[in-house]
């Protein structure tokens, strides 16, 4: 077994370095699906987070708590619920999203949306409340005011988006249920690793694992850069 692992790593290295077309195809599809899901989520979640920050309504606390609870929504549950909606018998079956990449994008959005919405709200809430009054006093329209505040909270919001991407690219449960791991169509890094491991092709699994880990490291470095960037800039104020 020890030899198998060593061999697996050596072969995995060769697969990556030689630019194995299957490895590349899976990696690109993974990035495409998760980046799309993250981008679309950010387009919805940032305005939604800003809306929650701007408007006081009854039950707002409950809504925030619910969103925060969804940070930890198990990915298989997200997959299962979406499956029930888009399977042929489901209310949205006519859209034929099951076992397609767009279906996987939707599944990942369900996971990313609460995270980015909640963290955007938190980032805005961390802004000095006097700033809102100052912006109003400077003659901003509501839209200008929202824009200024989002820009002010940009480091926190960017961190939220990066975290969201990390959640999307690393989840396997929803991708498996909704995508079905169809080679060339819906097979992504996590579902491929799962499959190759189960059939004993460790070299392939390790190669994909190393790539996934690499993406995770890049995400983490990005997050650190964003956070240290904002820390560096505010370290002079105290």
């Amino acid at each position: 077994m020890a030899g198998e692992i060593t061999d697996g790593f050596i072969q995995a290295f060769q697969l990556i370095v030689s630019g194995n077309p299957e490895v590349i195809r899976i990696t690109i599809l993974s990035l495409e699906i998760s980046l799309t899901a993250t981008f679309l989520s950010a387009c919805i979640a940032i305005p939604l987070g800003a809306f929650l920050y701007y408007h006081d309504f009854r039950g707002k606390r409950v809504v925030i708590n619910l969103i925060q609870t969804l940070y930890a929504l198990p990915t298989v549950i997200a997959g299962l619920v979406l499956f029930l909606f888009i399977s042929n018998q489901g209310p949205f079956g006519f859209l034929h999203l099951l076992y397609t990449a767009p279906g996987m994008v939707i599944a990942q959005m369900i996971l990313v949306l609460p995270l980015v919405t909640g963290l955007t709200f938190a980032a805005l809430s961390g802004i000095d409340p006097d700033m809102r009054q100052t912006i109003t006093s400077l003659g901003a329209t509501t839209l200008q005011s929202v824009r200024t505040l989002i820009l002010e909270a940009r480091f926190g919001i960017l961190a939220a988006v990066i975290l969201g991407f990390g959640r999307a690219i690393s989840e396997v449960g929803a991708a498996m249920i909704i995508g079905g791991n169809i080679r060339g169509y819906t097979r992504v890094l996590t579902t491929a690793i799962s499959l190759e491991t189960s059939i004993g092709d460790f070299a392939f699994a390790i190669a994909l694992g190393v790539i996934l880990l690499g993406v995770a490291v890049i995400v983490n470095i990005g997050l650190n850069l964003v956070q240290s960037g904002s820390a560096w800039k505010s370290s002079f104020t105290s």
Partner: protein, 357 residues
Amino acid sequence: MIQADGLSKWYGEKEILREISFSVREKEIFGLIGPSGSGKSTLLRLLDLIEVPTGGSLTILGEDALDGDARFGLRRRLAMLSQKPVIFNRTVYDNIALGMRYRNESQATIGKRVGEALRDIGLPDYARRNARTLSGGEAQRVALARAMVTDPEVLFLDEPTANLDPHSVEKIEETILQLNRDAGTTVVVSTHDMLQGQRLAGRIGVVMEGRIPQIGTTVDIFHKPATKKIARFVQVDNIFSGAITENQAGEATVAVPGRSFSAVTPLGPGSRVSILFRAEDVTIGIDGTSRTSARNVYQGTIKRIIPSGPFVHVIIDCGIDITALITIRSAEDLELAPGKEVFASVKATAIHVLPES
């Protein structure tokens, strides 16, 4: 220019401002002085249209400032500087440009005005600095520049120099006076510093416990405060209660337990009054035959001498404690020391008589 009638503001069950009425004239600098928590900031937020009063009416620049449709347009003709400068996490340039960008001014105009404003506030080379790296005084000057560059018709300043270094205080006061003089901007400035009120403002409204009990020139308020509370706030050291015993053509004698004073008042005998006079209106002599024309001369013993910058407060026990304010040099020339016998004198015209209710 600004006309407030019966303005009131409640936060929940708490009444912050009660029936405030006053007016601000075009191109004047109107001061609001009062202790912390008296409602000055709340009043300024109502005037800057950031908050809505609970009751009353408000007209600004000839428009009904409580009309929801007019407020946005009106707000763009006003500007405000708050006590704690709000600084955006961007460059100094972007901070100052913000109000002009909201108004869709051209890049050229913005660049020109920001440059001018940076020179005015004494930070000409700061445009590219991250504004979060500024000191408190520099940040407040940048906030002032940001408020100025939109060319407001009325500028509201809420304790603009509280806790700032002397250089920034001087620069900010200079900029405000210049703005008022050259651009004709009407200014409403709140402060708890009476000396600043005096340096900046022509007329002053005293804000106390959510009301404005007196409006007048600094001289009026310093020498003729309308209530004992105001007197204490503007540091009138000598406040005594008594009653008028006689009054001959306006020259009254006021009996205070332990002493009697000559003062000028139309109030008749029997009236319960307070008499107030400032410590700097009290002169100290070594003998009773001084050359002063003062009618009130009292012999007493020095109880304490309290230094106050280049001055000293001298508390003299004359049956009642009279406080005088003289220069350290005069105190040394007169060889004043606790226990020494002196004569305190105060002119009848320097005594302000307030009827007691």
